[in-house]
Symmetry: C2
Subunit: 330 residues, 2 copies
């Protein structure tokens, strides 16, 4: 969570002049994003008059992002914003480009939306998130682009293989045992024929801005892809319905999230039946990337490593709870 690149005021001024948003009056590097640098930019607004205090997020894509996939992410934002979803629209430059290059890296200018990310969501907030998630699933039904999910069960397996059993066990023996126990089932029994759509795939509380009980923005769509919509609900469930360390399951939040989502997007019988394995998979997906990052993050990185055990605990809960974790649907 850092700004990896220094952009001088002069460079920034020249860049912003490529957009019809007025002149820069403030620019602060913000401590968000792991694979990109972000700045909160304030400008004089269009034509330098009237809407003073126009604000934008400038994102520079530093790592991990395949530039060829940027049009998917940025067009998706525009598609959803145009349909009234609470997502920031992309600001296009004077020539209509959704992104530009600067110092050999891609950058995009994105609408700033107010709101704060909560650590301890309330059921009311979980309800609003469930509705917003359903809203983007509905709104993206006619989104014409597709992107393969590159974090499916076979990909988790590859990440664990790259880590090596010894290194995984060295982090925590329960971690190693949980991977050995559950990965085979996930690989064998992962659904193949559930309804597919455009999913966020990473809707953590970090990636939701709220104002009181209202969702003001869903952000950080850089894992968005084409996959089972019910898997998106499972990821969101895993992210929202436990204490951050995964020790405690919060039934009220779970019920609120699921009721709100399914009031807009009714789940089919096969989707409901698949929720337990999708949720175990959602936990395993974060175990996989966190384990990989734990082993591969240099000690001097500007990034805080996240503990994979937070998601091992969630995996244990899902294993024990089965369908009852999703009881309003059971």
């Amino acid at each position: 969570m850092a700004v990896y690149t220094h952009l001088s005021a002069e460079t920034l001024g020249d860049l912003i002049a490529e957009y019809d948003v007025g002149e820069v009056i403030s620019a602060k590097g913000i401590a968000e994003g792991i694979s990109n640098s972000n700045w909160l930019i304030e400008t004089t607004g269009k034509n330098g008059a009237g809407d003073a205090g126009a604000r934008f997020i400038l994102t520079m894509y530093e790592y991990r992002i395949n530039v060829q996939q940027l049009p998917f992410f940025l067009n998706l934002l525009d598609h959803l914003a145009a349909k009234g979803c609470p997502v920031p629209a992309t600001i296009h430059d004077r020539e209509g480009n959704a992104y530009r290059e600067l110092d050999g890296k891609c950058i995009a200018l994105i609408e700033f939306l107010p709101g704060v990310s909560v650590d301890r969501p309330t059921p009311q907030q979980a309800r609003a998130v469930g509705e917003a998630l359903a809203q983007i699933h509905v709104a993206s039904a006619d989104f014409p682009m597709q992107r393969k999910n590159d974090l499916r069960p076979a990909d988790w397996r590859k990440l664990f293989d790259q880590c090596g059993d010894g290194a995984i066990a060295a982090i925590n023996s329960d971690l190693a045992q949980s991977v050995s126990k559950h990965m085979p089932q996930l690989l064998l029994e992962w659904p193949t024929d559930l309804p597919v759509g455009t999913i966020h795939a990473d809707l953590f509380p970090d990636n939701v801005l709220v104002l009181g009980d209202q969702v003001s923005a869903l952000i950080d769509f850089y894992f968005a892809c084409t996959d089972f919509v019910a898997y998106d609900l499972a990821v969101t469930h895993a992210a929202w319905c436990f204490t951050p360390d995964g020790r405690e399951f919060n039934r009220d939040i779970s019920n609120a999230l699921i009721e709100a989502y399914s009031s807009i997007c009714a789940l089919s019988e096969p989707e409901i039946a698949a929720l337990p394995i999708l949720a175990k998979g959602a936990a395993m997906r974060f175990i996989a990337t966190r384990t990989y990052d734990w082993i591969n993050t240099p000690a001097d990185a500007l990034v805080m490593r996240k503990d994979p055990m937070d998601y091992v605990r969630r995996l244990h809960h899902y294993d024990a709870l089965g369908g009852s974790a999703f009881s309003p649907l059971a």
Copy 2:
């Protein structure tokens, strides 16, 4: 340059409720500050109406700051802001406190001022900075508090001693030689009887916000202290009048800075005569802290180490130029 502490939206909301500034509608950790964490906070404004989009900087003091000195820094901001200087005023809480405690650390809420920090200042910007520096020297003449400068020549010597000759030479042999050659003179010949005032003592381009050619804010007063006012001009000169790596001296910027400053605060003959040694001292002060930080910054710190050689080169320039570095006054 990082946010060292996670503040939940809930904690932040409770904190901001202690001030008469409305409710939080956005909070972004910003990548500024080495010894503190900072957030750019937007609120609904007083009474939640009218001045929507009120913005503040929330600072949490993490390291280095002696809490007993906070009143000096914060009262100085209020004193200067009240006199119309371009500095952010401190926002006091409902009980009138300029700072509060949160999780055992001190925090202050400070006015947000627009502007950007330039990397390559123009002579016009240097002129505006010279005027603003003089303005704070004039405005602080009746500031009643005092704070000893804890980075004077004997303190630099202590920092070098703590580093050890071997470690200094291991960074760069020219660094070691420059310290050996110039520290004795600085200790022996450092002025003792120049006019004293309240000085910023760290007025780098980083710490000045501009809008075009105008200074919109002087910020980061956490090295402010009571010392020779001409030393403040020397520090500012060292910070502004060279390329960042110290290789090139920019005469136009130097002239603009000195002319603008002295048009408001005329320097006495002894001050003018002392400028060469004050400037060498200014270079040595940053050599000392950068050398110390270079040796003592853990490899995994969230802080980028700054190269002390940038200031060794400035020291060489000042040694070679003598009084001619300040030619409008010579």
